[in-house]
């Protein structure tokens, strides 16, 4: 019987299936961080349980860590307790940890692929919704709650019901200035933030095929913003090239065996999807969000939409609330919106390619007087590589701050936060009310668009600075 890529991975991980479809699936890779794991370890202790497979688990502090000088430790008492707790739990239960001062430390979804911990055909979970990122490698990767983290630690399995299959084909080619971030924003804008609920999404089509691994990660990362827990892209030579010789990738004979298996990971020609969506690459423009939901997207050449033209009453109300929160009036030109802050980083756009693209556009230019801007590399290794290439100097001489790696202003759990009414062009993934700081106003953009906004001091078309 022909199967989708998701069907294949699911079937390969089935430990037990009850008659009602409730299944126990095996977890090959478990990533943990300081925010969603303390209660899980505490649960293990209370029940006198162990971590079943510490060697399949990797831990890193990322959400809380300061992005300034870390040699003095963490000032915030609560953040410090969480990071210390992770360290102690890892020691007690024998889990490998990249600690705050380790050069391999970084955002959990950046370090997994970077280390080769992320591999095609595996089931990967983490107590973080952006675990979907790892789907770029053809792995079934999704976010779980803390109780499920505890379940995985104790049993190396998870109780699940199979999701439905949705394929999103992005066909054709992308116009100049349009990047992976615009592709995924377009997808979310098209199907809505609940459009993928109950599905696992496979991203396919020529545009997806032509994306680099970094770009594929950007697309899969925001699958959750379309409501689906997991997004997948079939692995290919690019995937194998990326993983070859990574620290935790298979070596020698194991590599050869793994590649043979990985090459079987694709959706069969005549397989059936429960739903399919087609998008033309040519129709995608550089996008920005204007509201407080990732589906609130508009081309940078467009205007803030008018809620009064919306026929659905609930939607009209939601739009009005968003515009009031964002301090925007209907029909304002997007390119007239002034910006106070620029944030380049996060598990969506904090990889080396993102920094290269941003630096290339920024070379020899200065940020506008009215903005302050920061770059937070996704990991210590990304930071080191960028410094080796001299990208840090480009950012700094343009007026950006060059920080230590972590989640930072994507969710503002550390001191990197927006003040009330401050407006930010951000390469992160969520523009929810208060996400980057109470009252803060977030416009989601690609790294190139963030640079354009930094130079002009307002939301701007990246094609004008190319």
């Amino acid at each position: 019987m022909s199967k989708t890529l998701y069907d294949k991975i699911w079937d390969d991980h089935l430990v037990n299936r009850q008659t009602d479809g409730t299944s126990l699936i095996y977890v090959d890779r478990h990533l943990i961080h300081e925010v969603t794991s303390p209660q899980a370890f505490e649960g293990l202790r209370l029940q006198n349980r162990k971590v079943r497979k510490p060697e399949l688990t990797l831990a890193v502090p990322d959400h809380n860590v300061p992005t300034t000088d870390r040699s003095k430790g963490i000032d915030d008492e609560e953040s410090k307790i969480q990071v210390d707790t992770l360290r102690n739990n890892c020691k007690e239960f024998g889990v490998k940890l990249f600690d705050v001062t380790d050069k391999r430390q970084g955002i959990v979804h950046i370090i997994g692929p970077e280390q080769g911990f992320t591999q095609p055909g595996t089931v990967i979970v983490c107590g973080d919704s952006h675990t979907a990122t790892h789907g770029a490698f053809g792995s079934l990767a999704f976010g779980i709650g803390t109780s499920e983290v505890e379940h995985v630690l104790a049993t190396q399995t998870l109780i699940q019901k199979k999701s439905k299959n949705l394929r999103i084909n992005v066909n054709g080619t992308l116009p100049k200035g349009v990047t992976a971030k615009d592709v995924i924003l377009k997808i979310i804008g098209t199907i809505g933030t609940a459009g993928g609920t109950g599905y696992v999404i496979e991203f396919a089509g020529k545009v997806i095929k032509n994306l680099s691994m970094e770009e594929r990660m950007t697309v899969c990362n925001m699958t959750i913003e379309a409501g689906a827990r997991a997004g997948l892209i079939a692995p290919d030579e690019k995937t194998f090239d990326y993983l070859k010789d990574k620290a935790m990738s298979p070596k020698g004979k194991n590599w050869d065996k793994a590649v043979i298996y990985w090459k079987s990971l694709y959706s069969d020609k005549d397989c059936k999807f429960d739903n399919e969506v087609n998008i033309n690459g040519e129709d995608i423009e550089p996008l920005v969000t204007w509201g407080t939901s990732p589906q609130d997207v508009s081309p940078v050449t467009g205007v803030v939409p008018d809620p009064n033209k919306e026929s659905n009453e609930d939607r009209k109300m939601a739009m009005k609330r968003s515009l009031e929160y964002m301090g925007l009036k209907a029909n304002t030109k997007i390119a007239d919106i002034k910006i106070d802050k620029i944030f380049i980083g996060s598990c969506t756009n904090g990889r080396i390619e993102d920094l290269r693209l941003a630096a290339e556009l920024l070379k020899g230019k200065k940020i506008a007087n009215n903005v302050s801007a920061m770059v937070v590399p996704g990991s210590g290794l990304v930071k080191a590589q960028a410094e080796k290439e001299g990208l840090d100097k480009i950012f700094i001489s343009a007026g950006f701050e060059w920080r230590e790696p972590g989640c930072s202003m994507c969710l503002g759990m550390n001191p990197d936060q927006l003040k009330p009414k401050e407006r930010c062009a951000s390469t992160s993934n969520r523009n929810f009310e208060g996400r980057q700081g109470r009252g803060g106003r977030t416009h989601l953009v690609s790294p190139g668009m963030a640079v354009a906004a930094a130079i002009k001091g307002r939301l701007s078309d990246v094609r004008e600075i190319q």
Binding site: D20, H151, Q156, R229, D314, G434
Partner: protein, 202 residues
Amino acid sequence: MKNFTTLKSIPAYLSLQNIDTDMIIPKQFLKTIKRTGLGKSLFYEMRYDDKGEKIKDFILNKEPFNNTKILIAGKNFGCGSSREHAPWALSDFGIKCVISSSFADIFYNNCFKNGILPIKTSEENVTEISEYSIRQEEINIDLAKQEISFGNKSIKFDLDEFKKKCLLEGLDDIALSMDKIKQIDEFEKKLSLNKPWIFSNE
């Protein structure tokens, strides 16, 4: 886990769509290493002003809704982050049931691990039941019968059998999975033969 059988309460209605987990419990409260004590921070940004004073107009700050056990909300409730702090905060506040026309997947699953019943029902039903919030009249939930009753009417709701059983009996699903340890052992044996690189990269 505490079990769930029946519930009776005047429901609180939040008509907003796409209520995300950042709204339910903002990031500054995720720094805890405990599961308890989050109730006072539930819907923090909507519930308190800049000075930390309660906003009188917000429904959960008003009698009788400050003691409600049932929340009715607009569609796509619980979208965004996977933080289980969201159901912890609801539960700590006293909310044991959320009714909406749709839920985000991760949040929906997290509810069941914490004795909270999320009920999916049609938008028409949500609108009808929300009248009971406005009129401040009690509604009843019966999990065994999969029934919401109000006035002299009752409506059925769908629920996964396994999730229902776990909730009704307050089962610890880790213990249930531990019972399948032999099958997990066998699976791992096969896995190490067929995909040795999963356990060791050398």
